[in-house]
């Protein structure tokens, strides 16, 4: 069964409340968003004339690939095997973890080094490997920070975005048991030293995948730090784990995606390193892994293919631009979403993969402002899919909602049925309008009656109730027409 590791999205409301109260967190998030968005805007400005047509192309390539997913995966497999890559398939998280564990056991591995990978977070791989007695070290600086803090990443590109320099400094001193300087550069160098030793002792290196190339059976992984190069150069075995949707048909497609993902994600023209893997070490190479494995993970993705609209979710290239622009993410950060995939993309991916009952609040945790759709480099209609999921939860979701959503629907469903009947009758509309205006007028003066009207007290918890002007437009219009007669 498809799952997302450590999911707690059913606590969204209370987790978001906690996040809102955390002033330090909100400051860090606002600063991070400002910085990443201005970098993104600058990077895209340079190619502004081409950007929209690049988005169209990227979206069309992804659409085509998903419509031909079976053939493309088989083609990838055939070519990868020719290249000497051992290809494995895993239907769900459990099977994927078991496969990786078996490969590690066969390699008699004791120590595993990892470079940043969201799909391994999704399947909870570290947890399984550690349970089998392996040492697992995350080598991306941000991932290492959240690993030693005992947390999950709060952003799909910048895992430690919720931390401040001060909190990271405290964490480093506590973990390493020594004094270290407080500037970012010194702290980074300390991490380099500590992690270099972990690289040198690792038997197995595990990476994610950005693009599987069907026609060549090779795959590309992006990074900036060099940790992934080390992960794939020093250990004897390289295991790559990939969602089945990460495929592109042609090697030449990489050009387009590479020119987009850096700009969109981090505001870089391209990421510092882009590693294309075409198989284990070959003569005359004197280093590099002797064995290369590819684990292709479904974990619920095939369920999304059945609807043309929702299928778009699988076009995602994990650039993080939607998180960086999202005004909700800006206030609450990633952890409140309770899934390793937070923010707008997470709010459509998580409930579809983990099941509505695990994350039925997430599709509603959006003001539907549409900023995510505007920045998405592959043009995923995130607000449209949110609306689609809302409909499923509201109208066909009985028994598939978490407690909070169930309560909400108990209030909302009958209210909207009444609303619908009122709005279909001008007479009822007029009368209820007068009633609502009177109530609003009273509420703008006193909170005495709030407790009888939950939405009103919810509104007032952060805002005052604006006073209605008095009278309706239609009444004024009628008076005016009568006067003109």
């Amino acid at each position: 069964m498809s799952t997302i590791h450590d999911i707690r999205s059913s606590h969204f409301k209370s987790d978001a409340r906690e996040a809102i109260a955390n002033v330090e967190l909100r400051g860090a998030l606002a600063r991070a968003q400002e910085k990443s968005n201005s970098k993104r805007d600058r990077a895209i400005q340079r190619i502004a004339d081409d950007w929209e047509s690049m988005r169209d192309q990227a979206s069309a390539i992804k659409t085509w690939t998903l419509e031909n997913l079976g053939e493309q995966l088989e083609l990838f497999e055939r070519n990868a095997v020719k290249n000497g890559i051992q290809v494995h398939w895993a239907e769900d998280a459990e099977n994927a973890c078991r496969l990786v564990n078996e490969i590690c056991a066969d390699a008699e591995a004791r120590s595993v080094i990892k470079s940043k990978s969201m799909v391994t977070e999704e399947i909870g791989l570290n947890h399984t490997l550690e349970a089998a007695g392996l040492e697992v070290v995350e080598s991306d600086l941000g991932e290492w920070i959240v690993q030693i803090a005992g947390e999950t990443p709060s952003h799909i590109v910048a895992p430690a975005i919720h931390h401040t320099r001060e909190s990271i400094h405290r964490l480093f001193e506590e973990t390493l048991g020594r004094k270290i300087p407080t500037d970012a550069e010194s702290m980074t160098m300390v991490a380099r030293e500590v992690l270099r030793q972990a690289f040198l002792r690792a038997d197995v290196g595990i990476t994610g995948v950005n693009y599987l190339v069907a026609e060549t059976g090779s795959f590309l992984v992006l990074e900036n730090e060099g940790n992934q190069r080390l992960t794939t150069s020093l250990p004897r075995v390289h295991i790559a784990v990939s969602g089945i949707e990460k495929i592109v048909p042609r090697l030449a497609d990489l050009d387009l995606f590479l020119r987009m993902i850096g700009r969109s994600g981090t505001g870089q023209v391209v990421t510092t390193y882009q590693n294309l893997f075409c198989g284990p070490r070959r003569s005359p190479d004197e280093d590099g892994p002797r064995d290369m494995h590819m684990v292709l993970v479904d974990n619920g993705r095939t369920k999304l293919l059945a609807s043309e609209k929702r299928r778009q979710t699988l076009q995602c290239i994990r650039c993080g631009a939607c998180l960086n622009i999202c005004p909700v993410y800006r206030q609450i950060g990633g952890h409140a979403y309770g899934s390793v995939y937070p923010g707008p993309i997470g709010s459509i991916f998580t409930p579809q993969v983990a099941g509505l009952h695990k994350a039925s609040q997430l599709p509603f945790a959006s003001s539907l402002c549409g900023a995510c759709k505007d920045v998405c480099p592959v043009k995923i209609d995130i607000p449209g899919i949110l609306l689609d999921l809302r409909e499923e939860i509201a109208e066909h979701g009985e028994g598939q909602r978490d407690q909070e959503t169930e309560l909400k629907m108990k209030r909302e469903s009958p209210a909207f049925r009444r609303w619908s009947s009122l709005m279909q009758s001008p007479r009822k509309y007029r009368m209820s309008g007068a009633l609502v205006r009177t109530m609003a007028l009273i509420a703008s003066h006193t909170s005495l009656f709030d407790r009888f009207i939950p939405p009103l007290s919810a509104w007032r918890s952060t805002r005052s109730v604006p006073r209605p002007e008095g009278g309706s437009f239609r009444a004024r219009w009628r008076r005016r027409t009568e006067a003109n007669r």
């Binding site: 980074t188 080390l230 390193y273 190479d285």
Partner: protein, 222 residues
Amino acid sequence: MSDRENILNAVRKALESTGDAKSACTLPELSRPRLEGTQETLIGRFIEEVEAVSGRVHRLANIDSAARQLETLIRAGKTESLAVSRDPIARAISSRVLGRHVVVDPEDNQDAIAEADMGLTGVRLAIAEHGTLMLAPEDDHGRLAALLPPHHVAVLAVSQLVGTLAEAIEHLASDSQPATITFVSGPSRTADIEQTLVIGIHGPALLDILLIEDTQEEDHPS
């Protein structure tokens, strides 16, 4: 049934259920961007882009001047040990500074390379539009010399420079694919602590590119 069959069946079933939508969609032809201009324009763009990501490019006439530039870098960096890959031009250059510095060969174990201060390697190609080096470790007989030492010096002939990433990928598609290709645009970097840019985390912190006009070894020095 195996996971493989289950997945492929699930894919087929899900896609069949949406019916004829498939026929409407075709795989778009790619625009293959090119850089207009002379070789000098390419070089100018390459240098500009490398510098924009904190790398350095040294324009050099021939192998001798490249060797002199390497000496300068070695002196400036107080380099004590140099790991040299098996790339022939890198070898030719390092042979001119040999004897005065410790040379670690990639044949040696990885600990020795890990302790080197500088790694000298060749490159397969370079891309002007992004200031990118395309490393194919099999040309160098290994990947560690360009990776473990904190200072990477790459040797690049002017003739190896192409305009765009699309062109580089075309070259790659026409050759037999090497086990690994690494595209390098600048030194290693991170911004994981409060988005503060720090250069040099796991990979090299310094990247110097010796861009050589003429890599022929006609008059071999004594």
